[in-house]
């Protein structure tokens, strides 16, 4: 069977006809396999959902009980048969519980990698290369200008700034699911052991990470803290909150933003960021190209992001590549709206 007959882009998402399921569908479907818990990939309203336990837990946390009619959890490496295909989930290194989904039909294996990164992350299982015939890669940072560098170095810049401006609060914009917990873990690894303050929208997901055994040290809600007590502290908040009236509770805040987009200066300036931190949960250009090569795939399908450059690069390496027209996926850092749970802040 040709690869495009095994997995086909459709308006609802990537559809597997021989297995009769969708991967990360953007509309309600009967059977969905979900790569990870970010809202553009993990939507409510499907019939049956197959995902890792963590992803299922996060969907429940975000959408509430009954986000799907039925759920089934799968372990990394476990193989399941669905209709005419077998599927297995493998660590994607993106956020806790994130998975690449390998779909095997006859002798052909396609890996839908979802969002992934090959860089170290203390809050999730490391990315695993899955050899395959067709590799479906994201291209969020699919331009050679995107090189994320060493996250620990960026954390050191944040800490140097805290030391230089002890009378100011440092407000770090970070996506609530994954990025925030990774920043906290990196701060702890760098020896920062003071309490870290959190925006209310991050509270439940961060507690979930802690419940899965990820050590994050002492965390406090920013709401209710006295302004003068926030001098010299670090607070994490959803990116949109860092330009909100919510920030008025902080003494002369230094606004930081942890995102791969911060590599391009205009991006930080447009958002009024003072301290851009290049820390991303997506693979950078070097990561994308190294991963593509490591899978051994001869055919590359490129989705959401800067497809052109990556497709061109594949061509220069003798790989067959094409953009896969899938709509509805964005980069979580680029989302401007506050996550729905922001209402936890109660307009304070």
């Amino acid at each position: 069977m040709r690869p495009q007959d095994i997995l086909t882009p459709q308006p609802a998402g990537l559809y597997c006809k021989p297995g009769d399921f969708y991967i990360d569908p953007v509309r309600p479907v009967a059977r969905a396999l979900i790569t990870h818990g970010h809202s553009d990939h993990a939507r409510a309203g499907h019939g049956r959902v197959l995902a890792t336990q963590e992803t299922l837990d996060m969907m429940q946390l975000r959408h509430g009980e009954g986000f799907a009619a039925a759920t089934q959890s799968v372990r990394y490496g476990e193989t399941l048969t669905l209709g005419g295909v077998t599927v297995s989930f493998h660590p994607a290194g993106h956020v806790l519980g994130s998975a690449q989904i390998a779909v095997t039909c006859g002798a052909t294996r396609i890996v839908a990698s979802g969002d992934y990164k090959d860089a170290a992350d203390p809050t999730c299982a490391p990315f695993e290369v899955v050899p395959c015939d067709v590799f479906i890669t994201e291209a969020t940072f699919g331009l050679p200008v995107f090189r994320h560098g060493d996250a620990a170095g960026e954390i050191a810049r944040l800490l140097a700034s805290v030391a230089l401006f002890p009378e100011r609060a440092h407000l770090v914009g970070a996506y609530s699911l994954g990025k925030a917990q990774r920043i906290i873990a990196l701060l702890r690894a760098a020896g920062f052991d003071a309490p870290i303050y959190l925006h209310g929208a991050m509270d439940s997901i961060t507690r979930y990470y802690q419940s899965r055994g990820i050590a994050l040290g002492e965390l406090r809600p920013a709401t209710g803290a006295r302004k003068q007590d926030l001098a010299g502290t670090i607070t994490l908040a959803p990116p949109a909150a860092t330009s909100d009236v919510w920030t008025r509770r902080f003494p002369d805040p230094v606004t930081a933003f942890a995102s791969g987009w911060m590599r391009v200066r205009a991006r930080g300036r447009q958002k009024g960021i003072e301290l851009p931190l290049v820390i991303s949960d997506h693979a950078d250009w070097d990561g994308l190209t190294a991963t593509i090569a490591a899978t051994g795939a001869g055919e590359i399908w490129v989705t959401h992001g800067q497809e052109d450059a990556l497709v061109h690069w594949c061509g220069t390496r003798g790989l067959s590549a094409r953009p896969l027209a899938l709509v509805g996926y964005g980069d979580e850092d680029a989302e401007d709206a506050l996550p729905t749970t922001a209402s936890a802040e109660g307009g304070s």
Partner: protein, 572 residues
């Protein structure tokens, strides 16, 4: 280089003046000589590297990177140095991971490196630096630092290192040269205060704020003296006694650049020891000529006798900063003025005269004079007047732009309604916005009315308006030419700008035959259909009504004014 890179990286994002000062002072305290001195030189605009041009950087990246990937990246980032810094494929093969270069190493090497060796040297440095280091290196050597730091701010940060008043640093600054080891020794209490040995030193100039309507309520007319604001070049003419008592005369631009050599006809007129603050003008048959005429005399490689004869240069004096070794800057303006009047009389030169005071007793009276300088005593010179200057009678001469002492009150700009025709993407922080606009006015043609471009503007609007225009451009594009989009401009469909400008000139380069000086977007006229925008005839009438400059002056050359008058400026 890396620590300097981190400094300017952080400064580029930091909006607050106090925080910028803290960052620079911290860097200067932590960084050893001579690196910090070269950093201070870079921040004050005292470094330049003549061989490093953007074309060279393009060549470097072309030799290393896939052209398609470079083009896609450049299009995305919008800034050449930044694109190259980010995507540079470092080649460290066969090299024993050498440490990245220091700022001093870069400055020293480039000072003596033959041009042909520059590409290989730059490539090695780019290999050894990280993304931020590469960005800083490329910005530094191409002279495009643009991080919103004025020389004044950098000097203030240096002064803070030793708890000194920035004024003290300003006063000795002309005697200093990179890497300023003497200065740092004094600031850190390890050495004596450096002294100027220059017999004719530059003194940092005092600048004016633009006055707003609301300011007048807070100011008493009787506290101020007024002068005409001349449309020339601000200069400082200094004469001192050098070795063996030989007089030395120097002419400085407002930033302290020595421009004496360009005006050999003026120096002999400045025989007395003193420092005059004034305006450089061309005067023909006792009439001050417009800036368009003065421009013909500026930035020439060689000053020919013909040029001197055709464009006789004059100095119109409005302040005296020193006389016979006495510093007058602490005196009140009116006291200095009295000294200046005597000084100019003593010079007795037709090349140097006084900028007259404009008599007034109330703001409305001054407003009338400003509106009609010709009848208010300026006579034929009114062509070269762009407004009035207000100077507090009791004010000392304070370098920089002290609040409330000097004000400039320009004549009202001209205004027309024009239609947006083309939009081009900006650079730097505007790289993702269509922020450069070509606009046009209506002319009658055989096939009916058409728009003809009359100018281009890229400022005057707010950030919010920029977003609105950007959205309009993207939603109303009718054609694309590389980075330029043609935007719909029909009689009933299109966007009207109210464009303000300072003057008009005939131009052979524009199809419309006219060119605007300093055009800017004054207002967005969403309410106005393009058919109601102005016609070329309106501009023709304005051109006839305004005092004539040299009729064939080429408007496009006006940018050259920037070269002589301005040092590093704050980022817009």
């Amino acid at each position: 280089m890396q620590s300097f890179a981190h400094l300017i990286d952080r400064l580029a994002y930091e909006p607050g003046r106090t925080n910028k000062l803290r960052l620079i002072t911290h860097y200067l305290a932590e960084t050893p000589d001579p690196d910090r001195g070269y950093a201070l030189a870079a921040l004050t605009g005292a470094l330049s590297f003549k061989h490093a041009k953007p074309a060279l950087i393009r060549d470097l990246v072309a030799a290393r990177a896939d052209p398609v990937l470079f083009a896609l990246s450049y299009d995305y980032v919008g800034d050449l140095s930044e694109t190259v810094a980010l995507m540079w494929p470092a080649d460290r093969r066969g090299r024993n991971a050498p440490p990245p270069p220091t700022l001093t190493e870069v400055v020293d090497t480039l000072a003596t490196l033959p041009k042909r060796e520059l590409p290989a040297q730059l490539s090695r440095w780019l290999d050894d630096l990280d993304e931020t280091g590469r960005w800083a290196l490329l910005k530094l050597i191409t002279g495009g630092l643009r991080i919103g730091i004025s020389a004044r701010l950098a000097k203030t940060a240096a002064a803070q290192l030793g708890g000194h008043d920035p004024q003290e640093v300003e006063l000795i600054w002309p005697a200093l040269a990179p890497p300023y080891t003497e200065l740092f020794a004094w600031l850190e209490g390890r050495g004596d205060k450096p002294v100027s040995r220059d017999p004719a030193p530059f003194r940092p100039v005092m600048l004016a704020h633009a006055i707003e309507d609301a300011d007048f309520d807070k100011l008493a007319a009787t506290d101020f003296a007024a002068e005409w604001k001349w449309d020339g070049i601000r200069v400082q003419a200094v004469t001192g006694r050098g070795d063996l008592g030989v007089p030395v005369t120097r002419l400085y631009s407002r930033t302290g650049e020595d421009i004496t050599a360009a005006f050999p006809d003026l120096a002999p007129a400045l025989g007395h020891v003193g420092a005059i603050d004034g305006e450089l003008l061309v005067v023909r048959e006792r009439r001050v000529q417009s800036f368009n005429v003065l421009q013909q005399r500026l930035n020439r490689k060689t000053v020919t006798p013909k040029l001197i004869k055709e464009f006789p240069i004059h100095l119109r004096a409005y302040d005296l900063l020193a006389e016979d070794g006495e510093d007058l800057r602490d005196l009140a303006f009116m006291e200095r003025r009295a000294r200046l009047e005597r000084f100019i009389a003593r010079l007795g030169s037709a090349r140097v005269d006084l900028s007259p005071l404009v008599a007034f007793t109330s703001w409305p009276e001054l407003a009338a004079a400003r509106a009609d300088p010709q009848s208010a005593g300026a006579g034929a010179d009114s062509e070269a007047i762009e407004g009035v200057m207000l100077k507090r009678r009791a004010a000392a001469y304070v370098p920089g732009r002290p609040r409330g002492e000097w004000w400039k009150w320009k004549r009202d700009p001209h205004i027309v309604d024009a239609v947006l025709m083309y939009a081009q993407r900006g650079h730097g922080k505007r790289s993702s916005y269509y922020s450069d606009y070509t606009f046009g006015v209506w002319i009658a043609t055989e096939s009916g009315d058409q728009l003809v471009p009359v100018g281009k503007a890229y400022f005057g609007f707010t950030d919010e308006e920029l977003l609105q225009i950007d959205r309009f451009v993207r939603a109303n594009t009718v054609a694309r030419f590389g980075p330029v989009r043609e935007v719909v401009h029909e009689e009933e469909q299109g966007l009207v700008f109210e464009v303000a400008f300072e003057g008009l000139q005939r131009s052979t380069r524009h199809r419309s035959g006219v060119a605007m000086r300093f055009p800017r977007i004054n207002r967005l006229r969403w309410d106005k259909p393009p058919r109601d925008a102005d016609r070329l005839e309106t501009l023709e009438r304005m051109l006839k009504a305004q005092p004539a400059g040299k009729p064939d002056a080429d408007a496009a050359d006006h940018d050259r004014r920037q070269d002589i008058g301005n040092g590093p400026t704050e980022l817009l």
